[in-house]
Amino acid sequence: MKILVCISHVPDTTSKINFTEGDTKFDTNGVQFVINPNDEFGLTRAMWFKEKQGANVTVVNVGGAETEPTLRKALAIGADAAIRVNRAATDGFSVAKQLAQVVKDGGYDLVIAGRESIDYNGGMVPGMIAGLTNANFINNCIGLEIEGTTAKAIREIDGGKETLSTTLPLVIGGQKGLVEESDLKIPNMRGIMMARQKPLTILEPVEATAETTSVKFEKPAPKGAVKLIAPDNLDALVDLLHNEAKVI
């Protein structure tokens, strides 16, 4: 089984978020980048398929050279090969188009992407890859098993779970549940050393135009101080909820 894991290079969740150029660009200054958490769950599940079922795992990212440390971390964790499509990840559609090309050229049976990346939270890429490559698609995937060409997947739905059966080739939008946080792998020292010897191929992008562009970013208003209301002063509480918080 050939697996392709799509890896997004995103700011660490503890990063301070700022914008530049008149709030049109994310300020990467001093920001530490990591593997997108949803992708890391997927990568860890892919490593399970590698260990238990002998799958071959390639990781891919659409981005500039600055994303290579993130790909090399995925190699250190155990992926067999990495691909970087040399194009800035401007929008969901053009990224999906690059990834679809990689899928077609590589003949992958299973494509594991994250449900969404935690930077721009577009959530479009996995579905688009499936559309562009004519593969089955399961989003919000929290469990996946493969037998031959049959896949059994569990999908998170409102207030419950749905178990599905489908066939390869398959694209999933994965999330926590595919594996748990405690299953995530810390790259071991040997893995880090081996990563140097594994192939990291750089591909030139295929033609794609951005169908959407971001115009402006805004940060949520800063949290105010907590207000304490005496338990017998219900009127004041109602007044604050109605007029200040505007929630009732």
């Binding site: 290579e68 440390p69 090399r72 971390k73 250190a76 810390i186 790259p187 071991n188 020292m189 040997r190 893995g191 880090i192 050393m193 990563a195 140097r196």
Partner: protein, 603 residues
């Protein structure tokens, strides 16, 4: 261009030679691979150790052992071990880096880690025969076995060569029988291998042995109860009793009577590793302290807005950064020297490593003393920032403070290391490896000559600071040169003088390292981008001058009189002169405001 042995500074030579900022290694120079190693180690600590910090305070030795196994699974125990023996054969900087970042959460784990990978494994990788290495090192590298190092005895602590443990050869010449008592042995409770030092007959020097330990087949070995300690509470520390313990003759390490040398060389590496092991502990204490200071409100404002707290944060950050700078600078020198010695074909890897580290034994002692004292101060101020909460077991400051205390005691007390640093320097000078006398004479001539009245151009970054560093070196040479002339080899008996000289030496090494790192950074990033680092280098130099002035004065007055004394005191004044003295309150504000804004140690 590849550097040759001649290009890189020899141990102790920093004192008589100038170093270019491009020639020092700094953490900014970590390769991508090293960066990844650092992240992996931090992830391990954040996941496995830090959340369990309280558990390490409950004397849970089994938990420490379990964490060591997890560290082994991730390959952290095998970083420095040559590939031929199941290790990863990584360079010295990588070794130091792992040691640094793995030690931040608790002294209990860092002691277990240090005792195993350092003094528990190194004597075999550095001195073992091929058979010994094949037999034992892979087990230690994989964590199948843990190692301990049994040097100290009830009556032999700092005087390590005075141990009473005996090794007696059997009548058939096949084994030695070891009898004696060892004390304060880290990892004793869960080790399978002991490096034991014992005396054969009435030898002048002790001899090293590799002894296997199997609880079910103890071979005359019994363990004392766990010691109840101020800190590092989940690090196993026990006495070890040997009663007619039989060791095959092939388990002797190196040759008869070479044990003291082995012990000392293992300790050289141990010392720089201990310095590294005190770094991330400081980073974490600073980060926790600044987070608390930003949240704790008194007088209606976060305490981080008070100058008194900002002063502490600035000083803590500066010490941490300076210690880190000097540690990685020396690590690179060691790594280069090992590589060069190995590449020149004369040395095996083993010899190269041994000589590479031995060369910088002075720096290793300097770092051990300086960084262990920084971490002590840092944890102390950490408690102070937390106020009453800092004194409570419920915050991480209390245990950090207790854990920090041991670093000034083991791997040679700081007194012993201070004296060693000067003692070794004198020996190097006598061997002609570092020319102290030439420069010392030049300084004496300079003092009696007419001082230059040229006004130097101090308009570029650090030009004055660098000339001050050069002057501080002169000051050291003046004091040490005169003291040596007066006392000759007897100088070792004048301990207070040795300690003072060592303080000067330590401050010079740290101050120079810090200035060079900030200069290198400024060249790369621009002065504006690194104004905090520039401020730290200047603040540190400012303090260094104060310490050096005091130590210099004490020394000069202790051994000189009359005209000679007057001349040296004048020299002292000249050499510590700082014309464009920075406003240190401003410097502290620059440093503290960055740390407070980032809410983290961020350098």
């Amino acid at each position: 261009m590849e550097s040759t042995e001649k290009d890189i500074l020899r141990g102790g030579q920093f004192l008589v030679k100038e170093t270019n900022c491009d020639d020092i290694f700094t953490p900014e120079d970590f390769t991508e691979e090293q960066q990844m190693m650092k992240e992996a180690v931090k992830e391990f600590v954040d996941r496995e150790l830090w959340p369990n910090k309280a558990r390490f305070e409950t004397k849970d030795f089994a938990f420490t052992e379990a964490c060591m196994r997890k560290a082994a699974d991730l390959g952290f125990l095998s970083v420095a071990v040559p590939e031929a023996y199941g290790g990863l054969g990584m360079g010295f900087i990588s070794t130091i880096l792992v040691c640094d970042y793995i030690s931040g959460a608790t002294g209990s784990f860092s002691t277990a880690f240090g005792a195993h990978t350092g003094i528990g494994t190194l004597p075999i990788t550095l001195y073992g025969t091929e058979e010994q290495k094949q037999k034992y090192v892979p087990k230690l590298a994989s964590g199948e076995w843990f190692g301990s190092y049994c040097l100290t005895e009830p009556s032999a602590g700092s005087d390590a060569n005075s141990g009473k443990t005996k090794a007696v050869l059997s009548a058939d010449g096949k084994y030695y029988s070891i009898t004696g008592q060892k004390m304060w042995i880290s990892n004793a409770g869960f080790c399978s291998l002991m490096i034991v030092f014992a005396r054969i007959e009435d030898d002048k020097n002790i001899t090293g042995f590799i002894i296997e330990y199997d609880k079910n087949n103890p071979n005359g070995i019994t363990l004392g109860e766990e010691e109840h300690k101020l800190g590092i509470r989940s690090s196993s520390t026990r006495q070890v009793f040997f009663n007619d313990t039989k060791v095959p003759v092939e388990n002797m390490l190196s040759t008869r009577g070479n044990g003291f040398k082995i012990a000392m060389n293992a300790l050289n590496v141990g010392r720089i590793k201990l310095a590294a092991a005190c770094l991330d502990a400081q980073r974490r204490v600073i980060s926790e302290s600044v987070k608390y200071a930003n949240e704790r409100i008194q007088f209606n404002t976060p305490i981080a807005s008070f100058g008194a707290i900002q002063q502490k944060i600035a000083e803590m950050a500066t010490n941490c950064w300076v210690g880190e700078t000097a540690t990685y600078r020396a690590s690179k020198n060691i790594e280069d020297r090992i590589t060069i010695r190995q590449n020149n074909g004369k040395d095996t890897h083993q010899e190269a490593e041994l000589k590479g580290v031995e060369e910088y034994a002075i720096e290793c002692s300097i770092l051990k003393v300086a960084v262990s004292e920084f971490t002590q101060k840092c944890t102390d101020e950490g408690i102070q920032i937390f106020g009453g909460m800092g004194f409570s077991e419920d915050t991480p400051m209390e245990s950090a403070w207790r854990d920090a205390r041991i670093a000034r005691i083991y791997e040679g007390t700081n007194e012993i290391n201070r004296m060693l640093s000067i003692g070794m320097l004198i020996k190097k000078a006598m061997k002609g490896h570092v020319d102290l006398l030439g420069p010392a004479t030049a300084v004496a001539n300079e003092l009696t000559g007419i001082p230059s009245f040229d006004i130097p151009d101090h308009s570029t970054l650090f030009s004055e600071e660098k000339s001050i560093i050069a002057n501080l070196k002169k000051l050291f040479l003046m004091v040490a040169g005169a003291a040596l002339q007066k006392y000759g080899e007897e100088i070792e008996k004048h301990q207070q003088l040795m300690l003072a000289a060592s303080d000067i030496l330590i401050q010079i090494y740290l101050a120079e390292s810090a200035i060079l790192r900030a200069e290198k950074l400024a060249k790369k990033e621009g002065e504006d981008q690194v104004k905090e680092q520039i401020a730290m280098a200047k603040l540190n130099l400012f303090h260094a001058i104060d310490i050096i002035e005091t130590a210099g004065k004490h020394s000069i007055i202790s051994f000189s009189s009359g005209d000679e004394q007057r001349m040296m005191l004048m020299g002292l004044k000249r050499y510590i002169k700082y014309v464009n003295m920075p406003n240190i309150i401003e410097l502290r504000n620059i440093i503290a405001s960055k740390v407070i804004k980032e809410n983290n140690y961020c350098f």
